[in-house]
Amino acid sequence: MAEDSKTLDKNKMMIDESALDIIQKNMKEFLRAGSVDAVYGKPIKQGDTVIIPTAEVLSLMGFGVGSGYGRGPSGDEGNGENESEGGGGGGGGGGRILSRPAAVVIVTSQEVRVEPVMDVTKIGLAALTAGGFVLGMFFRMLSARSALKDM
């Protein structure tokens, strides 16, 4: 009986270790997004000029793993012949890395300057969304005002 318990614990530990491996591997990849290398690109040389691209990086991740190991009910006689045991584990997760160019560092023989990169599409879409929201709120306020007048 004590031996069975040891086997059970050993199997459970093996499943837990593989789950931990998965977590550690994914976390390493995830934490790489927080390094300086993720933000500053490799320098590009063009004659005397060196260009270093920079980007804003947003990384999101979530995952979960679970494992279980158990033994089925023993037979009527309790001799352990009908005993069954098994285990399993599983996990799932998801993540996303969003990256957007922020600026470009330009190094020439005369000067070093930072040129911003403007995402016109993103700004345009944000302005349209915000404008629509403000208009929607304004119309709601107008209808609320007329409802107040009717009271």
Binding site: I23, M27, F30, L31, A33, G34, S35, V36, D37, A38, V39, Y40, P43, D48, V50, I52, T54, A55, E56, V57, L58, S59, L60, M61, G62, F63, G64, V65, G93, R100, A102, A103, V105, V107, S109, V112, R113, V114, P116, V117, M118, D119, K122, I123, A126, A127, A130, G131, F133, V134, M137, F138, M141, L142, R145, L148, K149
Partner: protein, 93 residues
């Protein structure tokens, strides 16, 4: 679930660009759950340190114009809604 929010400035490896040495700095904000199985990392360029052969040093900030503009749009929208609310309900009195 306790969350761990941390903002730190990280220094990158110095880049040799001709006679000039450039050291990049980035700002990283991370939100990790206590179990560390969920998280968010927001990493953006902060500034660069320029070291010239004559020994002079200069810190140039890396400004993200797009992000600043987006925040400005959000702020202006909130302000516009507040002003509209004030004027709309002021007239009704």
């Amino acid at each position: 679930m306790t969350e761990l929010i941390r903002t730190e400035t990280k220094t990158g490896e110095t880049i040799n660009a001709g006679d000039v040495k450039i050291t990049p700095f980035s700002k990283s904000t991370s939100i990790l759950s206590k179990g560390k199985n969920t998280g968010l990392i927001w990493n953006r360029p902060d500034s660069i340190l320029v070291q010239r052969p004559d020994g002079s040093e200069q810190v140039i900030p890396v400004i993200d114009v797009t992000r600043k503009t987006l925040w400005a749009i959000m702020g202006l929208s909130a302000l516009a809604i507040m002003l509209l609310a004030i004027f709309t309900f002021k007239k009704s009195k």
